[in-house]
Amino acid sequence: MIALLRSGFSTRRSRHGLWGVPLVIVVALVALLSVGTDQFASRENLFNLVAQATPLLIAAIGQLFVILVGGLDLSVGSVISFSTAILSLDGPAILLIPAVFVLAGLVGLINGLVITRLNVHPIIATLAMQYVLLGITRILRPVSGGEVPGVVISVVQGSFLGVPFPILWSLLAIGLAAKVLYGSRFGLHLFGIGGGVAAGMEDAARTYGIRVERNIVLAYVGCSLFAALAGVFLAGRIVSGDPNVGLLFELDTITAVAIGGTQLSGGIGSLHGTVLGAVIMALLANGMNLANVSPYVQTAIKGGLLLAIVGLQSRKKMGL
């Protein structure tokens, strides 16, 4: 236990990254908000907080997959908007819900193949995908509206034995990701590939017999699937399709992952760090809302936070 805790504060030896720092920040923020405001500790606000944090948490976990292999997915926000647009189409739930995941998987597959097979930089490939998806989303749903299947709304907004469903969604996503990252060969290979990329030896993992291309493609597919899951959750929350709901989500997820101690150069990072990062983002948003900070200023503060966090991570190579 002590060894584990120590690893969270050490930059050496650990592949989990600096996750101890965000843990301290979470504790400090919770303490500050509980003492500083009356509303924070209320049951209502805490439920609200979880519901706000859940989509970011789910999407950030997806982003973690691609960041671990030294990539980046800028199409996350557009996949989220696209998913809500699909769900708000006319059609039976039994068709629409699988369609969301099949299409999202296809998006991830195209991202991954373009990056690995056609040698396109991840940022360019996913940026282009973002544009194409936003265009398709606006054709499907030019302005927010439409009806989301009732089953989606009831699994998002309900509660079981006093536990609101959003908590279950978060736990489910975390459990799934833990199994994939720490309980499968695929997860180990993600760390292996990213470690090589970060050290400037792109072929290191291949030398050890890891199928680099295939694992990278799967990482992008996983990222899109988690983004779609976040999209389904959001559709259930706002009860409609919205072409702008995913706006800037890609940056929020990157910020959450980076605050959680994950190195954007790949290979070093952790699921628990990412969860803490998403919680910090939600706590900040919640605290600023309670303090009546203008939403425009909140955007600027989030940008400043991202800048400060990545500024603290020094990389070996200069560039994108």
């Binding site: 265009g135 425009y296 989030k302 940008g303």
Partner: protein, 313 residues
Amino acid sequence: MASPLLRRLAAVPPAYYVFGLLLLTLWIARPNMLNPNVLGIFIRQVVPLGILVLAQLLVMRVRSIDLSGGGIILLINYFITSRTFPEASGLTFFLMALAIGGAVGLLNGYMIAKRRVSAVIVTLAVSIILVGLVQFLSSGKPPGDVPKYMNEIFDIKYGPMPLPVLFWLGCTAAMWLLMQQSVYGRYVEAVGESAEAAAFSGVPVERTVVMAHVLAGLIAAVAALVQTGSIAVGSVRVGLDLPILAVAATILGGVVFGRGEGGVWGPFFGVLSFALLFVVMTVFGIDDAGKLIAQGLIILMAAMLYGWLGKRG
């Protein structure tokens, strides 16, 4: 690729083909639009983009990227139109714009070259901060009118040739000279080829990259002034999509991260292609959604072509 001819043809920046193809499309569909006066008006509209592309190609040559141009344009546009400085003269605005652009560029360059932070993240974050700041200052409402003299300068024409287009040609030629003739141009080329090799050869790699970003910030400030001259009323959305379009036009023009086959004129034709593309899409009644998809596909296809060429040779 078997024949050398085919290889030569594939090495020509896609912008020239796209430009030719769009010109042909327009000639077939709407021949009456192909007169100098009409085209001059359309090309004048993309001059801010054309100037911003000069910034983008410079930073992309050193394997970086600058997405903060939108924020710079928005902030400068806000200061000019909001009457925050009611007594300010044109010269004051000009100097203020350069100061803003230079400062943002310096911050970008420091973070990217010295702190080794991802260029995409830095410049996007800076852009978000600037946009948030402007929206806060203006409470999300359009700030006010553009000073008359700026619109008047923008409207000057010599025959069919609008002054902004001439200015753009001049800026592009200046950038071409900088890349071709100056020591700094050689440094940029060396860093783009390989930062490690350049460092071993005594090229000041970090300084070259910082300088590229400062220049990019200054160029974005000039683009902001031209953009402001092109509109009558200030806006809190002006120029936000320009950085991405600039990336697309640059790639289309044959400049990809570190590789500069397209030189300065390839991206120039990339911008002209976008000008024609908007005309063609308007002619065929394609809406904003279709434009987004087309932009995305163009970026993707140009990048794919270069990825494929890079793998071959």
